[in-house]
Symmetry: C2
Subunit: 256 residues, 2 copies
């Protein structure tokens, strides 16, 4: 089966969506078949890949609540090998709608249980900035968690809570769940704070931290306004080069 | 009674906590009595003001779930006129614990109904990156909403949803709720995207947008690691000057 990665961190604005879109695109450019699952009510990954609001008819909300089939939700993008299951703000009612019902954390896993998922090499789930029911559904449905870590003080603070939640899911609904790795984002080598956070992360997390570091690069924040991954928007930018390098490093780790 | 401001935006990492801490500190430096209510399970505002985990015994969780009194939760900080109601990760279970119970969006408003709140000129509620039950409680308990708007593409996308939610609360549980204003954050005048977002925001929102713009300034992201507002950490930094200017502009608007 595919590698199913939750791109998660409850800290907001650390680069979850940017990593989902651009790592996804870089893996697709290497010939991998990639599905991006937008699990954030903001729908930023859907927007960043050019899915207009009018084209979000069957969405990840339907996967979780209406037991829609993956093949009904997944739609192609303008980019080869890159397919998306889009999201709308409807997702924000999932917590209340599923409430304390039986199996509420198994909904996404069940949606992935058909044959359709086997067509993919990588499934990348863009999680919302919270350890809520949406993110728990992602963890239960995943083989591993990829943690974007912004090189800022507040970002380090939430890491232990995130790792505890992964452990809880591994001890319960998904014994195979592991941490795929931590990727440092928005890194500015002139900024002492970034250097300090990198040192802290590598000291405490060792090889979990990818060698590839994503630099702060304005082309990454411009690309979504053109509904393109940065690899298409500006292939020679430092952002594009970094995500291509992250994809290479990941493929090597997973083949090893 | 006090001005009660929800500092809210479901987009993550836009400067909600940084604005809560530093606007709060700047208002306190002007002699206003300020209470900061940390309503984010990440507890970043509590950390940024130096409240150690061991000192978070009675917290905002208790305000919402255990009907604790505000005077039992509020604690003084090292900074004159600045008091904080701290948060822990316990807050993340509030959605599930309150579920569909009667009056679940009135919990914070009820906690503010005693005499204790009258001691303050400003109450600033730091909201989590979500339009969930915590943020709804903040909106129902507030006189107005202050929206930090990062000058980035994804940040504009969520604004209409946020404004719709404010309108829903105004039509329902809190008829007095209004938008206090929008403050542009992490602004870099060399970056075209920032200029574009500023133009869009001022064109569409007019006078709602504060004239004061918060620049991107590394001193703002360093200050919380020293458990200080930027006004104390580096009073002459561009970040400190900007938040002092925001406080002045706000006081003028509210006196007018
Ligand atoms: N390496 C980078 N360099 C410059 N800008 C970046 C970088 N990565 C992300 N950004 C920008 O920073 C902002 C936050 O990134 P993004 O939206 O991907 O984070 P997120 O973790 O998905 O946020 P949320 O918590 O709201 O889901 C966006 O405007 C994005 O364009
Ligand atoms: N004007 C600024 N200049 C530079 N860095 C900033 C600025 N404002 C905030 N930051 C930094 O950017 C990051 C995001 O800011 P902050 O945590 O205040 O946002 P938030 O909206 O509260 O995030 P969340 O959605 O996770 O609650 C933090 O690391 C903070 O230190
Ligand atoms: Mg995102
Ligand atoms: Mg915050």
């Amino acid at each position: 089966g595919p590698v199913i990665l939750s791109v998660a961190n409850q800290k907001g604005g650390v680069g979850k969506t940017t990593t989902s879109i651009n790592l996804g695109a870089a893996l697709a450019a290497r010939g991998q078949s990639v599905l991006i699952v937008d699990l954030d009510p903001q729908g930023n990954a859907s927007t960043g890949l050019g899915v207009a609001l009018d084209d979000r008819i069957v969405t990840t909300y339907d996967l979780l609540i209406e037991e829609a089939k993956l093949q009904d939700v997944a739609q192609i993008t303008d980019f080869p090998n890159l397919v998306i299951a889009p999201a709308t703000t409807d997702l924000s009612s999932v917590d209340i709608e599923l409430g304390k019902s039986e199996g509420r954390i198994l909904r996404l896993k069940n949606a992935f249980s058909g044959a359709a998922i086997e067509a993919f090499d990588y499934v990348i789930i863009d999680c919302p900035p919270s350890l809520n029911l949406l993110t728990l559904n992602a963890f239960v449905a995943s083989t591993a968690v990829l943690v974007p870590l912004q090189t800022e003080f507040f970002a380090l603070e939430g890491l232990s809570q995130l790792l505890l939640t992964v452990r809880d899911v591994r001890d319960g609904a998904n014994p195979a769940l592991r941490i795929d790795g931590v990727v440092l984002t928005m890194y500015d080598k002139r900024n002492n704070l970034c250097i300090q956070v990198e040192n802290d992360a590598r000291e405490n997390l060792g090889d979990l931290v990818y060698r590839t570091v994503i630099p702060r690069n304005v082309r990454l924040s411009e690309a979504p306004s053109f509904a393109q991954p940065v690899l298409n928007y500006d292939p020679n930018s430092r952002g594009a080069i970094a995500y291509k390098s992250l994809a290479s490093e990941m493929l090597k780790r997973h083949e090893g």
